[in-house]
Subunit: 243 residues, 2 copies
Amino acid sequence: MVLSTAKGSIPLYIQIKDLLVARVTEGKWVPGDTIPSEIQLARELNVSQGTVRKAITELVENNVLVRRQGRGTFVATHDVDRALFHFFHIVNDSGIKILPESKTLSCRKKRASRQEASKLKLSNGAQVVCIERTRKLDNQPTIIETIILPQSLFGELGKRQARNLPNTLYELYETQFGITIHRAEEQLRAVAASEHDASLLGLEPGAPLLEIERTALTLGGTPVELRISRCSTSKHYYQNTVL
Amino acid sequence: MVLSTAKGSIPLYIQIKDLLVARVTEGKWVPGDTIPSEIQLARELNVSQGTVRKAITELVENNVLVRRQGRGTFVATHDVDRALFHFFHIVNDSGIKILPESKTLSCRKKRASRQEASKLKLSNGAQVVCIERTRKLDNQPTIIETIILPQSLFGELGKRQARNLPNTLYELYETQFGITIHRAEEQLRAVAASEHDASLLGLEPGAPLLEIERTALTLGGTPVELRISRCSTSKHYYQNTVL
DNA sequence: GATGTTAAGAGTTATATAAGACCTTAACCA
DNA sequence: TGGTTAAGGTCTTATATAACTCTTAACATC
């Protein structure tokens, strides 16, 4: 790629930003990598350090890169902190957030339903991996999660790791499958607990549950995970901060 | 206030940012005002335009200021768009967001409950204004809202405007009371509809409702509104985008 | 000789400044 | 009425210097 400085063209720092994003999405730089210093990139691209810096700044605000003064700039990784901070919103009544432990109930392959296929942008009836698990908060089963993954991306999962899945899946996606979840869209509803829900959570059937349907996307915007969580909110709630 | 450039002191642009925020919170600049240009501020404060610019940039990211190239920089206002975009999260099943019309049921004074006082940081038993209203989505009553406001700030409301309240309250707070809502914290739960809820929404008692408890804060971080919404989510859902 | 402390240096990001390009508006003129 | 221009705002880019982090080597101490 060559940068254009012609009159009326896109600003340099935007072009550089796109170029840096491309290096991440293509896997040339992977999570945890140190990217070249601002000065190196500036020399390579024939612009000033400040211009590279502006591009990087926006990517840091997007959670694509992480800066550490005196150290360098890194491709952001999915550690537990990020999972908690960005993607987990359930807190207990004291407002404290703790990542729940998980117990996998099943992990099998099936054909995607119409809805699932549409939300994951798969062709009708494509194969998916379907995980079901419960999660404990404050030592009480509180959440039932159903996770749908395209088999084309996560094929290995069906075979090997059926029952010993780690607690933070996004870390696994990143390290084992080279897939980094970058953002998500969540749709929340109140639903009545089914018999199945109720027995797993120790509630009466018909009890109100908070249903969170999350579509998780990569940096490129491809949906790669569909996750439906049904939560008992008698001792916990979903916390959202509106800026 | 004087800026400090001594070695080891806080960066200039942060000091400028604080200074600009102060001018907004003190009411020296009010929503809609044009603030002095970057160059004017730079001259006034004896720094370069770029330094002022960096301060303003962060405030734009915080939704405190709004820039318009060629026009100037303005203090952000609470128009309908902002209300919709930042503070209203209910969309219909097609993903479309429409601000619901409101019907005020009651507007009266009372003493704050313990919880209300604590969440609004009022002394125990302080006077509050309590508004109850329903809101229609797609021509169907879908939300019941209970709004609690400190009477110390919103005294006038109790008297005059009892029944002809506008649809977007935050605009009213800003224009009539000089109070700008800057951010909010929302706590979501699934609850069972009471008889009262059910009759207002045309549902069976016990039907699951999504309860949203929102605390709205000023730029200074003072809580100024407590709002509890109970929503039927059979044809709508709460949309949250996680970046 | 082994170990802990200090100082210097190289490499990195962070801050501040300056200059010109670009955008918007309004006044002016043909 | 429509085009031109000037003024004044933000936006982009470049450059210089400060602040921070880590490594290494010199040195004192046990």
